[in-house]
Symmetry: C2
Subunit: 342 residues, 2 copies
Amino acid sequence: MDDPLTYRDAGVDLDAADRAKRALGPLLDAAGDENTLSGPGAFGGLYAMPRGMSEPVLVSSADGVGTKLKVAFMCGRHDTVGRDLVNHCVNDILVQGARPLFFLDYLATGEMDEGVVAAVVGGVARGCRENACALLGGETAQMPDFYAPGEYDLAGFVVGVVERERLVDGAAVRPGDRLVALRSSGLHTNGFTLARTIVFERMGLGVDDPFPGEDASAGEVLLRVHRSYLAEVWPLLERGWIRALAHVTGGGIAGNLPRVLPERLGARVDIGSWTVPNVFSRLARGGGVAGAEMYRVFNMGVGMILVVSPEREAEVLGALGDVAWGLGEVVRGRGVELAGGR
Amino acid sequence: MDDPLTYRDAGVDLDAADRAKRALGPLLDAAGDENTLSGPGAFGGLYAMPRGMSEPVLVSSADGVGTKLKVAFMCGRHDTVGRDLVNHCVNDILVQGARPLFFLDYLATGEMDEGVVAAVVGGVARGCRENACALLGGETAQMPDFYAPGEYDLAGFVVGVVERERLVDGAAVRPGDRLVALRSSGLHTNGFTLARTIVFERMGLGVDDPFPGEDASAGEVLLRVHRSYLAEVWPLLERGWIRALAHVTGGGIAGNLPRVLPERLGARVDIGSWTVPNVFSRLARGGGVAGAEMYRVFNMGVGMILVVSPEREAEVLGALGDVAWGLGEVVRGRGVELAGGR
């Protein structure tokens, strides 16, 4: 007769899970807002619909951090990826004109390390606060033999709201409209499988080595937090100045800008209009990556693109300040032409 | 000089990802409802808030399938886990009185196998249809060196709605209230790390071997789909007959029922009131698992518990039919006492 089995013998420690959940309690308590009606123990999170809207449309998006997580594992730094995730999700609904209401996370790990769980969820909570969005709940799953020791996956879901008549769907975009770029902070959360190969294999760097051309380590450069554009873009949305918005994620400028343009319209992007940040040029050189491939995989310094009327461009650029510049224009046709360069 | 690198060399195939996404298009198109305002290409999914509610409260929950996925991998069967996930999430908001509006999934995999992705997301879409809920969007992430070949993780997130005055929060529960059980279909999505250890190691079964005492293989028994209780419970909620509802997930009856009872109230569960299904008794025997541990890890045949007034019990049992039975009662005190047995 074999020894009697327990859940813990099989690899799942319910007590550790309970401790991790209790440790998160105060963090989640503090992460609500005035519409949050539930505490952390509830099966589902409760959120009172904001009052006074005439035709509210809920806007929702799911995303993961992707293999940027591997850099966090290498650095032993777990408090930034949650902010990446929230900011990514918030940008994904912002481009349709929505402000975030609440967020939920999914954290899956092999072994439940309470310190790591608290750091990751703490980052999520901070990301939510920075976007004035409630952290309504989440799931922390213990999945031994799924994830390597010390590793985890992190995904999240955001729900926002917009008045139906204020939805930004690109329908108002016309040929000749201007593209305005908002700069990214770095890789954001895309292209990390390629970037890691280049930095850690081709360039032979460790996470603590200085990154060439930067006053920061390779780990710090790669972990720079995905920017949220809510604070910059929201006032412009409220004024009705924006005809379309694209979040530059996987697929780069050419993969994302066409998603928000009407049929039979494309864009001409002037690649001489900005200096590609150091991290991207070092990656291109370090990996011998072709220019076209670089623009297909990475944001190249452009985190978000606004489409505005020619008459509005100067005001928009003035309001945004030096994080923004004129990137190009909307043209008849389809797709994105990367033109110019210097 | 090393060879020039591409994203594909590094392990990410954007073309395969595009193909997988295109293959999902029709499936997602068909998964909307009359309130769905967006197509699959949008950054965020758009869902018009239902009209005519006076104080709508959004209810949201995130969950994963957990290591039940390992059984799906072993069986090469990928079309059921999506239904598990949707049903689990729907039950988690049903217990607060909400009906589901929409769902989003997160599917993370190492290599993008279009057939597997289509089967998994097809299961999610079917689960949504079965719960009259829109599949509003999702993320399919390609994360080489995170997931073993042929493996993936699957999480999801549901948003539902309830009128504030119809929220089920247990506040009306009184000592002497009756517990009504709804039977589970099997393990649902909890305890799989222990169950797999017992079935595949201690009992030495393969997924295609007959499961003792069942007219089905071990794989079939373990993959039985988590039941949604929406269809049974919703009419009772509409009639206002339910004072509290608990979804029996990780932690079993004793871990979940107290979550919905007011302070200073507990429950007495009569474990002689039902016959524990064969799968659980075989697991207990096969793993030599103590009874208390079994009840702490598994649902033991009880998928959901309703709390109703003593006057209402007979009507509720009559409406639910033979999937339900009287399980016990609410008592002063705290926690759950598992009493009786035969």
